[in-house]
Structures are given as structure tokens and as C-alpha cells.
């Protein structure tokens, strides 16, 4: 019974990472720098890729969602934070980006 509850908590981020990895070959090799479960109803995703160069926010989201088509809509619903940036943009992290990289970071 416990395994049935725990499994989606860990398996969905893994499946998200696998889907993204196939669409974004330059994705970070460390899964925890790309996707992790923040709480029971929230998953955070951060995609850094050259493929986003000169793409609008809407186009970037479409690219990510296309990569996640292997997942059910219910599985994607828990994604509450979706950060999409080029490597150059990632060098100037936003506050939300810093929260992703360090969830325990104290507030100002």
C-alpha cells in the first residue's frame, strides 16, 4: 500500500526527465538540476537548452510540452514551476530560478 502512494511521487519526475532528455540532448545530466518534486502537489522543472535561442515563451513551452506528450495530462498537472532558458540566460538567474536551485534558500 505504501509503495502505491510513494511511487507517483518519485516516478513522475523520472518520467518527465526521460521525456525532456530525448527532446533536449544538451539537458543537464543531473536529474535534480532539471526536475524534482517540491511537495505532494508540486513538481518543479528547469530546462536549459540552446534550442530555446530566439524562441518566445509560448514557443518554448510548446517545445517542452511536446517532449512530455508521453506523460498523461494528470501527471503534468503537478508541474507548478516551469523554467525555460538558454545557457546564456541561465548565467543571470532570476529569483525564481534561485528558488529552484536552492529550495531551502531563506527569503529576503
Amino acid at each position: 500500500m505504501a509503495a502505491a502512494i510513494i511511487e507517483p511521487q518519485t516516478e513522475v519526475p523520472k518520467r518527465i526527465y526521460a521525456g525532456l532528455r530525448s527532446a533536449f540532448p544538451d539537458l543537464d545530466e543531473a536529474m535534480e538540476r532539471v526536475v524534482y518534486r517540491y511537495n505532494r502537489v508540486s513538481i518543479r522543472v528547469r530546462v536549459v537548452s540552446e534550442r530555446f535561442h530566439e524562441k518566445s515563451e509560448t514557443e518554448r513551452e510548446r517545445m517542452v510540452m511536446d517532449a512530455l506528450k508521453v506523460l498523461s495530462s494528470e501527471e503534468i498537472e503537478d508541474v507548478t514551476m516551469l523554467l525555460m532558458m538558454t545557457p546564456e540566460e541561465a548565467r543571470k538567474p532570476s529569483l525564481v530560478d534561485l528558488e529552484f536551485l536552492d529550495p531551502s534558500r531563506p527569503g529576503l
Binding site: Y38, N39, R40, V41, S42, R44, S56, E57, T58, S73, E77, D78, V79, T80, M81, L82, L83, S94, L95, V96, E99, G107, L108
Partner: protein, 147 residues
């Protein structure tokens, strides 16, 4: 429906409405096209504040007003603070869940909004401000109408 007869719920709902209206006014005042602007950053900040307030109103709406002072201290000032993901979890624990469309809107807001951004102004693209404002407006309307 929100219990707007509860004073604390009404306060959060009014605050959400006010932040959203201010965001709209600033959005209309900001430069057109793809220009970046500090006004667009303000639009994102105020839109996010609106979402936080309307979700707080929804959360408290499910409890007796006698419990509100305790919930404000323990939940809003305690475990949740200004994190929309923690607020989403608190809502889920109290039996309320956003529709799939509204979860996507919450994602659009959360991916750009942090309460700390009030201390860190950045030039922001109009596309971002528009996206966050529209998502916040939809969330506000949804929470106002949801049963």
C-alpha cells in the same frame, strides 16, 4: 463560491481584486510590442500578489471565521508564507483542487513570480507580463465562481 460574508475572506478577495486592477492599469501604461520595461516587472509582481490573495481567500472560505486568526498565523504566516506551491498543497489538504486549466495558469504565474521580486526590479518583456496577467485574471475569475 467564496464566503464573502467572512471578513477575512472579503479582505483577501478585495486585495486580490485591487492588485489585479493595478496590474491591468500598469500593463496598459507600459510600452507596446516586445519592449522591456520596469512597468512590466510591476505587472508580474502585482499579478502574482493577486493570485496569492485570491487563493488565500479560497482557503479561508472553507473554514469557520472563528478559525481564521489561527489559520492566518499557522498556515499563512507559518508553513506557507508566500510560496504558491505550499499554498496549493494547503488547499489540496483542505479538499480543494484547481481545474487542469487553472493549474496551468498557476504554473504560468509561479514560474515568474516570487514575493521577493519586490526587492529586485528587472526590466521585463511585455510578453511575460501579458502571460502572467492573463493567467492571474483567469485564476481570479475561477476562484470567484468555483463551487
Amino acid at each position: 463560491m467564496l464566503e464573502l460574508t467572512y471578513p477575512q475572506v472579503l479582505d483577501f478577495y478585495r486585495a486580490a481584486s485591487g492588485h489585479l486592477e493595478a496590474a491591468k492599469i500598469l500593463f496598459l501604461a507600459a510600452p507596446e510590442a516586445s519592449a522591456t520595461s520596469y512597468l512590466n516587472w510591476e505587472v508580474v509582481y502585482l499579478s502574482g500578489c493577486s493570485v496569492e490573495c485570491v487563493l488565500r481567500a479560497w482557503y479561508l472560505s472553507g473554514f469557520s471565521p472563528r478559525e481564521h486568526p489561527r489559520l492566518v498565523e499557522e498556515v499563512f504566516k507559518g508553513r506557507v508564507r508566500h510560496n504558491l506551491e505550499d499554498l496549493k498543497e494547503a488547499l489540496a489538504e483542505s479538499g480543494r483542487s484547481l481545474s487542469p486549466e487553472q493549474k496551468a495558469n498557476l504554473r504560468h504565474v509561479r514560474s515568474r513570480w516570487s514575493v521577493e521580486m519586490r526587492y529586485a526590479p528587472r526590466r521585463t518583456r511585455r510578453e511575460i507580463a501579458e502571460r502572467v496577467y492573463i493567467a492571474s485574471d483567469k485564476l481570479f475569475r475561477y476562484v470567484g465562481e468555483v463551487q
